[in-house]
């Protein structure tokens, strides 16, 4: 349904080590993964890479997750976006969902749950 490439995921987080480990885990699960360490870099990547799901941190220096969410929403509103947060950012979940986040993931998250969530989202995209 959404005009995106299935099995492709973009990870955005200023925490490089987290990006690395997430990338390696997601690749084991069979996804093609690109990584961006900032909102601006994520937008650059999106120019050439068309992921089915964007997995983004909310609390980042420079462009934060909410601004990024708005920009990605403007590019393709149907692409599922998952927002990661530490539970201490004082976010408003209703507002984030209005801005297009399909799921909020509280750090530290259960990797098994992430795997199931990604599978579910890919399925939705496929339909």
């Amino acid at each position: 349904m959404a005009d995106v490439e299935k099995n492709k995921v973009l990870i955005v987080d200023d925490e490089e080590e987290l990006c690395d480990i997430l990338k390696s885990e997601l690749e084991v699960w069979g996804y093609e993964v690109q990584v961006a360490f900032s909102g601006a870099q994520a937008l650059q990547v999106l120019a050439t890479f068309n992921p089915a799901v964007v997995l983004s941190d909310i609390n980042m220096p420079g462009m934060n997750g909410i601004e990024l969410l708005d920009k990605i929403q403007a590019i393709n509103g149907l692409r599922p976006k998952v927002v990661m947060h530490s539970g201490f950012a004082g976010y408003d979940s209703v507002d984030l969902k209005k801005r297009g986040a399909v799921e909020l993931l509280s750090k530290p998250f259960d990797y098994q749950r992430l795997e199931e969530l990604l599978a579910l989202l890919m399925n939705k995209v496929a339909k």
Binding site: E15, E17, L18, I21, L22, S24, E25, V28, N59, M84, S86, G87, F88, A89, G90, Y91, D92, S93, V94, S106, K107, P108, F109, D110, Y111
Partner: protein
């Protein structure tokens, strides 16, 4: 001390005003009184004068007439001296019918003032003959008004002196009386307020020393009423100061809480990020170990990965507790939660604290799958708050314990937090849910916990109260069962 009581007469403006009033009114009365006296004296003098003249007319004219008829000069002279002795008469002359003057006597030492105000009065001298009464001469006397006016002047002067003296003495008497009875008391009151002792700032008692006192009067009543007010003011001020100090302390505690919350937020954020990475590594280690062909090494690696994962979970539950402190959770977000899971979470957070304080904590949940629609973190915050209050209250008891019990009905659940304390006093019960009320020592409690807890529970459509029927201290939280549709959605 004496100067403050102000007994001096000169200093009192009231006395000066009173003196002016007495002088003016007395002067007016004196003028009227002198006027009346003058009139009476004038009338009296006139009467005296006319009596003297009528005496001359009645008793002396006959004898003078006879003396003239017989030309007895000696007797005439004596008669004239007699008339001259009468007051105000300054000269006497006796003339016969032909106008010849037989006698002329004048008083000695007459000044021009005396003679200038004199006038003549002439009386006919007659003789009884056969043909009737015939005039044989005349008696001419000169009367001066000078003495008359002198006497009036003297009388008025004396009257004026006496009146002035009377006024003076009376004024002094009245002023002294007023000074003793009223003015000294008023001065003391005015000095009291001038020194800033009265009023809202200083509520000292007003003491007035009365030198002359005829029983209870309005001034005494004023002093009594004022002192009553001052006493009330003092009490109110003390209460206000107390309240202010309490509020200040509560505010300080609140600001400390706020900075603590911020610190907890930063700390939680800094822990959760690497923790997410650590979970990933544990996962990767597990997968790597799984690939090992050596069964011993495989088992060891998987065991280690499991241990790392467990420790990560422990850290995670600690940071969850921090999120309660940081209060950054989304207050509006409600989810359908199972009571068993929620209570387990809360217990996980407080068990360590209870254990280190030697408090035995247990829970008895009759239906762990009972569902409520709530904000898990906020309800958790309430439960942790109640448990912490219990821990604080019973820490000095022997074998302290806290029990969590639930009682589920069709529409609601009651969560009871019971500790080994022996209930809460009525006084505390009344105030326990008010903001800033605390029984903890300064700096230990904000007094916000229970008021916030009640607000949270009310916002969830429930209620929080103290069960006074239980012999042990019991807090009861009532929460409604989650609506069916949201339960279905959650499933």
């Amino acid at each position: 001390m004496n100067s403050s009581h102000g007994f001096s007469i000169t200093a009192s403006r009231i006395n000066r005003k009173l003196a002016c009033l007495i002088l003016i009114s007395s002067f007016a009365f004196a003028i009227i009184s002198i006027g009346v006296n003058f009139w009476i004296a004038y009338k009296h003098e006139l009467q005296v004068k006319s009596q003297a003249l009528s005496h001359i007319e009645k008793s002396m004219l006959g004898s003078i007439g006879k003396s003239l008829w017989y030309l007895d000069d000696m007797l005439l002279k004596q008669n004239a001296e007699g008339v001259l002795a009468t007051m105000d008469i300054i000269s006497v002359s006796i003339r016969d019918h032909a106008g010849t003057e037989h006698v002329h006597t004048v008083k000695d030492g007459l000044s021009s003032e005396i003679t200038s105000s004199a006038y003549d009065v002439s009386y006919p001298l007659t003789r009884d003959s056969e043909s009737g009464r015939e005039q044989i001469g005349s008696l001419i006397i000169k009367i001066t008004n000078y003495y008359f006016y002198q006497r009036l002047k003297e009388k008025i002067l004396i009257g004026l002196l006496i009146e002035s003296l009377k006024i003076f003495l009376l004024s002094i008497l009245i002023m002294a009386f007023v000074q003793l009875v009223v003015t000294s008391a008023v001065s003391q009151i005015s000095n009291f307020f001038k020194r800033g002792l009265g009023g809202l700032k200083d509520s000292s008692a007003l003491v007035v020393v009365r030198r002359l006192h005829f029983g209870h009067d309005e001034l005494d009543e004023f002093v009594e009423e004022y002192n009553k007010l001052a006493e009330q003011n003092k009490i109110a001020k003390l209460r206000l100061t107390d309240e202010l100090t309490q509020k200040e302390q509560a505010l300080n505690a609140l600001s400390r809480m706020a900075s603590l919350g911020e610190l907890a937020g930063n700390l939680g954020h800094e822990i959760n990020n690497p923790l997410a990475i650590l979970f990933g590594y544990a996962n990767k280690i597990r997968r790597t170990g799984d690939k090992s062909t050596d069964p011993v090494l495989r088992a060891e690696i998987l065991d280690l990965a499991e241990k790392v994962s467990k420790l990560c979970h422990r850290i995670q539950s600690t940071t969850k507790g921090l999120s309660v402190l940081a209060r950054t959770s989304d207050a509006e977000e409600r989810k359908t939660e199972e009571i068993g899971i929620m209570l387990d979470e809360v217990l996980a957070l407080v068990t360590e604290k209870a254990r280190s304080a030697g408090i035995k904590i247990s829970s008895q949940v009759d239906d762990p799958r009972f569902q409520i629609s709530c904000n898990r973190i906020m309800i958790g915050q309430v439960l942790i708050n109640l448990l912490n209050n219990s821990f604080h209250a019973i820490k000095k008891f022997e074998n302290p314990w806290v029990k969590i019990e639930t009682a589920c009905s069709e529409n609601a659940i009651i969560i009871r937090i019971i500790d080994c304390g022996l209930g809460i006093s009525n006084e505390v019960c009344k105030n326990v849910f008010l903001p800033f009320f605390t029984t903890k020592p300064v700096g230990e409690g904000t007094g916000l916990g229970l008021s916030v807890a009640l607000k949270i529970i009310k916002a969830h459509g429930g209620d929080l109260k103290i069960n006074e029927n239980n012999p042990n201290t019991t807090f009861e939280i009532l929460l409604p069962r989650a609506p069916m549709e949201s339960a279905v959605k959650a499933a």
